[in-house]
Point group: C2
Chain length 272, copies 2
């Protein structure tokens, strides 16, 4: 096993090819958790799973049942390795829910949060292994002392221990900038309407307010309220065009109502 | 059911009391996923779980098996509600793996990422419900169209669909700044040694380099290298004190070696 063959040509085109971390699980007890981790790996662009002393993973068992599409590649391609091999071949990051409180213990302190780990790994190019421990007890101090760094997920003080599969999912999610070449999401989450269209809406809305017969200082307040509201909401082009259509119709009818009232010498609002 | 009773006095002291979101799961099919979500809620400081048309949750079944300590409170206190009740009483955030590509569809666009959702919820104080859909099909367009906002987790383009329990875990992790009053982690992840101690180490290291007989410009390079290395590593006080002890001893012995060599007219390095 060599740490140097990660990220080699697998037909994956990436603008900045980098070695993606491998994921190591030490003595997992529950096949379902191995499947959950495999699925999270595939969701966040990772492929290389290594297992230290795993349970048997049957094709009709829970590991495959929980793996989603990772049952096709990540899970069947998982390697069985020893802890010693991992330490020898990778820059290793151990994970733990329980850290040291201060620098009295070198095993669990200092530690990095997932965000700090991502920021730190961004700056290096080394074969890296993210190492998870057993369901019940995690990694022990002897194991942590052999790893290069320690990472811990911030969680509620009264119950900070995440399930193994959930912890791996959170950490791989947080490392996604290093591992996911392209997400399913469009580049922009909001396409704000052209400013000219937004301004046209505000003109329409001003005419609309005038039609209601409000006094000028009230109209000004209401116009500003609408400007603040749309300013925060970042309307899309489609939303603004729908609003323009709606208010164009309303303003036309309101203007016509003034015309009718004048023509027939009627009040513009019903008498009380 | 009222949205106004979230975050009321439950003995929890918080410097900035705020209404924490409730979590809604619409028609979950697998009890295990409900348990996983309950555990993630407890890990990230949430308590109020609401279920629309859930499966039966038996105390000896998978929901309780997967819930960890949340089997004691979050899970047994879960309410059964209707989708209509949720829409009527909360500011609702729907979750989906598949968004619109642009503003042609109002159901799935615009959307927020989990980080954007957290930033947005930080600025408001409203009873908020995070709504998750079924395992297989998520929330449908008709349901999404009745919710106020849409959130999507960025993941790998070729397999962006997270398992329900894993998606909830990631989203609740990302919202933790709003929901976790105190994490299990100490306030500082690294306690950098006092600068005076670090400087003393650099003096020791300078004497050490001098003892090796390197020429001055080589020594200067090596001293700078060590300054950069420690500057990046943020050594703890304990680490620096260990290093000071080690180099004090080494320097003493090296100095003595010079003395012995001079006294006995021997070379300071072995002859080749």
């Amino acid at each position: 096993m060599s740490g140097g063959d990660e990220g080699d040509g697998d037909g994956h085109e990436s603008p900045q090819p980098r070695r993606k971390p491998v994921v190591v699980v030490v003595e997992p007890e529950t096949p379902g958790n191995v499947g959950t981790i495999a699925r999270a790996m595939k969701n966040f662009g990772l492929t290389d799973l290594k297992l230290v002393d795993p349970p048997e993973l049957k094709e009709d068992g829970e590991a495959y049942g929980f793996a989603g599409h990772a049952r096709e590649d990540v899970l069947p391609n998982a390697d069985e390795v020893t802890f010693d091999e991992v330490v020898a071949n990778y820059h290793t990051v151990g994970t733990t829910a329980i850290t040291g409180e201060d620098d009295q213990s070198h095993e669990r302190f200092p530690f990095k949060t997932p965000v700090e780990l991502r920021e730190s790994l961004e700056t290096v190019d080394a074969p890296t292994a993210i190492v998870f421990g057993r369901e019940g007890r995690g990694l022990n101090n002897e194991e942590l002392s052999r790893l290069d760094e320690v990472c811990s997920i911030p969680a509620a003080d009264d119950y900070p221990v995440l399930n193994l599969g959930q912890a791996a999912t959170v950490l791989l999610y947080e490392l996604r900038d290093l591992t996911v070449d392209e997400t399913q999401l469009p580049d922009t989450a909001v396409t704000r309407a052209p400013e000219g269209d937004v301004e046209r809406f505000h003109e329409f809305f001003g005419e609309f307010l005038e039609s209601t017969g409000q006094r000028e200082h009230v109209r000004e307040k209401n116009a500003l309220l609408m400007r603040r509201l749309l300013g925060r909401a970042h309307p899309t082009e489609r939303e603004i065009h729908s609003l323009l259509g709606t208010f164009r119709k309303a303003n036309t009818k309101l203007e016509h109502a003034d015309h009718l009232a004048a023509k027939h010498d009627e009040p513009v609002y019903p008498r009380e």
